[in-house]
Amino acid sequence: MDIVDLITPGAVIANLRATSKKQALSDLAKRAGEITALHERAILDVLLERERLGTTGVGNGIAIPHGKLNSLDRLYGLFARLERPINFDSIDEQPVDLIFLLLAPESAGADHLKALARVSRLLRDKSVCEKLRGTDNADALYALLTESQASRAA
């Protein structure tokens, strides 16, 4: 499972403006709706449902909201760099400014987990996060997200 397989340049948002967790999730759901041609409300519901199991704010300013949807044809990833950090009920109670959203088809049990593990591993890397925070251009962000992995694979 590679990040390249999850995300397209169009799914990277360089400066998301949001003031709350709810708003950030709903903006991302909207964008995901455009990409996947699903109803944004359905996506948001799935994300909020997942948050009820426990926050996806994993600490160090990172959040990885995710969920499964019946009508998806494959895994979709979205990345957003927030203009201003927001409260995300994170485990370390630090505000969040990098969000990687992951949506998976209902049937993709193992792939869903593999993708989650991959994203989580990528964003655990402090140097990657620092570079992502220092970049406000969507293409450059996309390059960072996908390149770090090529270098790691090598």
Partner: protein, 588 residues
């Protein structure tokens, strides 16, 4: 007179000063104490006109003090967590170790089998003092289950090894015996020791709580009663060592009227006892005699560490659900210490032929054990995935005990970036009363929100205070290794397994779906979960992140891929897993 006091206090002071050195170079502190004794001893400065009998007497009393203290600091929760496997280690494990060590003693030292068995039993017990010390002071937090197991084992196995040694030494010294008398003696040692310990512990609790004695005298009273118990039980034919350990356990877990005073005194006196024990054992040693037995002794040490202990631990722990890594770690932390050297004095006192051989060999084996295992405990614990990463930074906390009250008064300094400084609320059971701000003090409800630099005084139940720390601490940077330990995501402990299974497609049995994640995890560990315990479910792991005050699961982690933290690091312990699975299939 003055000279004697000067020498004694000088030795203690030298030992304490040497601790600075020890912390700097990381040398095992107990080894340093032994070194101080050697330097001052018969062949060093010649300060020690010590004879074996006196050292044995003082050493036993000091050991009793250390055991009382180790019982005192063992939470009853830890004891329950580990009692059964620890007892197996303390009995089966000790006998097996003694038996296996007898082999190199016979082959390398040329001792006949009974004498070789005597050496084996001398070296059979792990040293409570050394193990406690390394686990507590080593600056690492070892996972609950393993730590409890090691601590309870080292508290319980001394009586067994001591009994074995005394019995063998007495027989070899020519005292009459019969098999039945020995078995009866063993039973009496345990029975009297256990019952005496329970009764003595309760007496100590009542004496401390009820008699209204001046507070500074309380710890002295407790200590005196413990030593009285030790000798009384010993006179009756019971194990005084077992008795003081259990009495410490009872007293330490009871609600005492001045727990902090007692704890602090215990800490100090236990240090003094250890210094006394190791220094006087060093004083007694004659390094010039070591040369003759050095090589065989190293052979014995190698067999003990690499064969006897691992084999004994492996077999003693077979019936229990203990992972391969835990088993390996437990077998590695089988430190030998003062008890072994102390026991090695016995053959000399009782007049067993060639008595000094035991002492010299035991001395060298202990030095090797302290050096090798003492130095490597940290790396090995890390390698075996036995270290709990710190989740919070240091806190500035002052505890005051309130006589007669069930609450303690605690003060915290508010540091920037702590949860409280960022506006996090205190739990309802914590009652803030006074805030010291800019040199003035005011009532907490007038002071309003706490800000960095404040000092807040609050009342809370002593057993809950630890749960406040994370609110007042600077959050610790979560390192990569910590994420691996605790998992990627937090999961609410109250969520049902059904919901979780649905969201991630997890293989959970029908009957498990209604339970909460917390209950599910607790059940998987026999109702006694420990931090870092993990369950593999399909491709994910559920991890116990934190426990609540009642020992239930309070925080759960979710790893999206197996962390393999508990995967066996050494293949040699794996056949056991299969054997265990086989045995449990037979049973079920």
């Amino acid at each position: 007179m003055n000279l004697a006091v000067l020498v004694l206090s000088g030795l203690v002071a030298a030992s304490v000063f040497s601790s600075l050195l020890s912390f700097r170079i990381g040398a095992p502190l107990l080894l340093v104490f032994l070194g101080v004794g050697l330097a001052a001893g018969a062949e060093g400065l010649g300060l020690g006109p010590m004879d074996g009998r006196m050292v044995y007497l003082l050493g036993s009393a000091a050991l009793a003090v250390v055991l009382f203290d180790s019982g005192f600091h063992t939470p009853v929760k830890a004891f329950r967590l580990a009692a059964a496997p620890a007892l197996s280690l303390a009995t089966v494990g000790v006998v097996l170790t003694a038996a296996v060590v007898a082999v190199p003693a016979h082959l390398l030292l040329g001792l006949d089998w009974p004498h070789a068995g005597l050496l084996g039993s001398i070296l059979a017990s792990t040293d409570a003092a050394a193990v406690f010390f390394l686990l507590r002071v080593g600056g690492i937090t070892v996972r609950d289950r393993t730590r409890s197991l090691l601590e309870v084992e080292s508290g319980c196995n001394d009586p067994v090894a001591i009994f074995l040694t005394m019995a063998l030494a007495a027989i070899l010294a020519g005292q009459p015996h019969t098999g039945w008398a020995l078995a009866g003696d063993l039973a009496r040692q345990f029975l009297y020791g256990g019952l005496g310990g329970l009764a003595g512990g309760m007496v100590i609790v009542q004496a401390v709580n009820r008699l209204g004695i001046e507070r500074s005298l309380l710890p002295i009273l407790a200590l005196a009663l413990a030593l009285m118990l030790f000798s009384a039980v010993g006179l009756l034919g019971g194990s005084g060592f077992l008795a003081v350990y259990i009495a410490g356990l009872v007293a330490g877990n009871a609600r005492l009227s001045a727990p902090q005073t007692l704890k602090r005194f215990q800490d100090g006196i236990s240090w003094l006892a250890q210094i006394g024990m190791f220094v006087s054992l060093g004083l007694l040693a004659r390094p010039s005699e070591f040369g003759a037995v050095a090589l065989p002794a190293m052979g014995v040490a190698v067999v003990l560490t690499l064969v006897a202990r691992p084999l004994a631990v492996f077999l003693a722990l077979l019936p229990f659900r203990i992972t391969a890594n835990e088993t390996f770690f437990v077998s590695w932390v089988g430190l030998r210490g003062a008890v072994s050297i102390l026991m090695a004095i016995l053959p000399m006192i009782l007049g067993v032929a060639g008595g000094s051989v035991y002492f010299n060999v035991a001395f060298l084996v202990v030095v090797a054990s302290l050096a090798v295992q003492g130095w490597t405990i940290g790396p090995v614990a890390r390698w075996m995935g036995q270290i709990v990463p710190r989740r919070t930074g240091p806190v500035e906390r002052v505890d005051l005990e309130l006589p007669g009250a069930h609450h303690a008064l605690v003060a915290y300094r508010i540091v920037p970036d702590s949860l409280v400084a960022r506006g996090h609320r205190l739990p309802r059971w914590a009652m803030p009363s006074l805030v010291v701000r800019d040199g003035g003090s005011m009532l907490a409800h007038i002071a309003g929100p706490l800000v960095a630099g404040d000092m807040v005084w609050l009342f809370a139940r002593p057993d809950r205070v630890g749960h406040l720390d994370h609110l007042f601490a600077r959050p610790a940077e979560a390192a990569e290794a910590d994420r691996r330990f605790f998992g990627d995501f937090p999961i609410e402990p109250t969520v049902s397994m059904g919901q979780l299974a649905l969201s991630y497609g997890l293989p959970v049995n029908e009957d498990g779906l209604d339970r909460t994640v917390a209950d599910y995890l607790a059940d998987r560990f026999g109702g006694r979960p420990g931090i870092g315990d993990r369950v593999l479910l399909g491709d994910i792991e559920l991890i116990v992140r934190a426990l609540d005050e009642a020992g239930g699961v309070a925080e759960v982690g979710f790893a999206a891929e197996p962390t393999r933290l508990d995967a066996p690091r050494l293949a040699m312990f794996e056949p056991g897993e299969r054997l265990k699975a086989w045995v449990s299939r037979l049973g079920g």
